[in-house]
């Protein structure tokens, strides 16, 4: 049994370590060209086509130009179109696209993998040798209200044009979800390997794990909002402690703390700087996974999991009231009262409407979600290791959902 546990722990750590190294490309510029024969610029060998744009991330992993063949010989030609990148006068990368591979289905890509600085001016140069003359055309995009001439500059032989060309740029990123999943796997592996120690110091282990989870949760914002991590760490441990002293099991208290602190009210508040307005619908505020700061500024995502458990928790409270267990349910009744009042203030149009009351709404939902999780665990059995393992896996799934939504909220929020 011990060997099995050590093996499972080692596999978890290994898997987590492997997941850590996954990187992916993310598009950060895509200027789609207009349609029509008049919006083509045939590439001539004696001309140099340059488009200047600003970078956003730390890298340019691949770049694509919207090219189309305009000559029947293009399919069989051995010629190439050369794409180069310049930072100022320095050439930082160059690559060729074979003319025979260019078709009408979208941008033609080259992989470059070059580092770049944020908001640096980069020039994309497209040129052709005489054997590719007149075979391929660039697709134009006229300036309109969706993008202005100030952010982009297209020139032919250094002469400024009154249009741009369609292009797309990707950066290489280390996705937050990969960091978080890898982090959770490594953590699970360490817990399995050091199981005896974990059993001896259960509360200390729980607090350390919560701090570790807070670090993983706040990972996407460590650079942009440095004080987000301490806020999450303090709130998650404090709420967990309150639930524990109220008699919840460790896993149920952890679930309640996740629902309250890993909801999106805190990141949204950071992004909008506390300037959200308007009244959100209950669905938009609590269950909609697209928590974009512009439309969901006063939201607090609890997910289907949090909402379902909260509904069951409220049913358990009502059942206890109905069976006259009034003393046991005193605090639950106080939280229910707080829930009704804060719900009214947050979602119902009235003179006392205030979006910040969503914090109390989410807190009360977390309280009842934790209550039902606790009841479920006691019903299934506190000593059954199979049940405990299933509940921990369930908890990890809920946590990854919260982490994913928050990472997306930050990704869209920073872009605004």
């Amino acid at each position: 049994m011990q060997l099995l546990r050590y093996s499972a722990g080692a596999i978890c750590i290994l898997l987590g370590g492997l997941v850590f190294f996954v990187h992916t490309d993310r598009q950060f510029i895509n200027l789609t060209p207009g349609e029509g024969a008049g919006l083509l610029q045939t590439i001539r060998s004696e001309e140099v086509y340059e488009q200047t744009f600003q970078t956003r991330g730390q890298t340019i992993s691949k770049i694509g130009a919207y090219l189309v063949p305009v000559n029947a010989n293009a399919k069989t030609s051995q010629a190439v179109i050369t794409i180069s990148l310049f930072a100022g006068a320095d050439q930082i990368a160059t690559a060729d696209i074979p003319v025979s591979l260019i078709n009408n289905s979208g941008p033609s890509f080259v992989r470059l993998d070059v580092p770049s600085n944020k908001n640096e001016d980069i020039t994309l140069r497209i040129s052709a040798l005489p054997d590719a003359h007149g075979l391929i055309a660039l697709q134009k995009r006229q300036f309109d209200e969706t993008f202005s001439q100030q952010t982009i500059l297209f020139t032919i032989d250094g002469e400024k044009q009154d249009y741009a060309i369609g292009y797309t740029v990707y950066e290489n990123i280390w996705p937050p979800f990969v960091q978080q999943l890898g982090g959770i796997l490594v953590c699970a592996g360490l817990v399995l390997v050091m199981w005896n120690l974990v059993q001896q110091a259960r509360n200390m282990t729980s607090i350390l794990l919560l701090l570790y989870i807070a670090l993983l949760y706040a990972a996407p914002s460590l650079k942009t909002y440095p004080s987000f991590f301490p806020a999450v760490a303090i709130l998650i441990v404090a709420f967990w402690a309150v639930l524990r002293i109220s008699g919840r099991t460790t896993i149920a208290a952890t679930f309640g703390a996740f629902v309250f602190v890993c909801s999106t009210w805190l990141p949204l508040y950071f992004i909008t700087n506390g300037t959200a307005e308007g009244i959100l619908s209950v669905r938009d505020a609590l269950i909609d996974p697209n928590q974009i700061s512009v439309s969901h500024g006063g939201g607090g995502y609890v997910g289907i999991s949090g909402a379902l458990f909260a509904v069951v928790g409220i049913c358990i409270w009502i059942y206890r009231l109905a069976t006259r267990k009034l003393v046991v349910t005193q605090l639950d009744s106080a939280v229910a009262f707080l829930f009704v009042v804060s719900f009214y203030i947050t979602f119902i149009p009235s003179p006392i409407h205030h979006y910040k009351a969503i914090i109390l709404v989410v807190g009360c939902i977390a309280w009842f979600a934790s209550l039902s999780f606790d009841s479920m665990q006691r019903f299934l059995g506190l000593r059954d290791m199979f049940v405990q393992t299933l509940l921990v896996l369930l908890l990890a799934i809920f946590l990854l959902d919260f982490m994913n939504i928050t990472a997306r909220t930050f990704a869209y929020g920073i872009g605004i």
Partner: protein
């Protein structure tokens, strides 16, 4: 009653520590980082203090 004061004392201590950190690391959006944190901590403290006032 001593435990109620204990909870409130700890909440005050933690918020002071956090405010100091936020002022140091994030002076530009200081209020944005402090207000929701204080509201969240106040909620937790009220629930914790109510628990002790009711059951202990």
């Amino acid at each position: 009653m001593r435990k109620v004061f204990f909870i409130i004392w700890w909440a005050a201590l933690l918020s002071c520590g956090y405010i100091a950190l936020a002022r140091y690391f994030q002076p530009a959006t200081f209020s944005a980082s402090v207000v929701p944190f204080l509201l969240g901590l106040a909620f937790i403290s009220v629930i914790g203090a109510t628990y002790y006032a009711t059951y202990e």
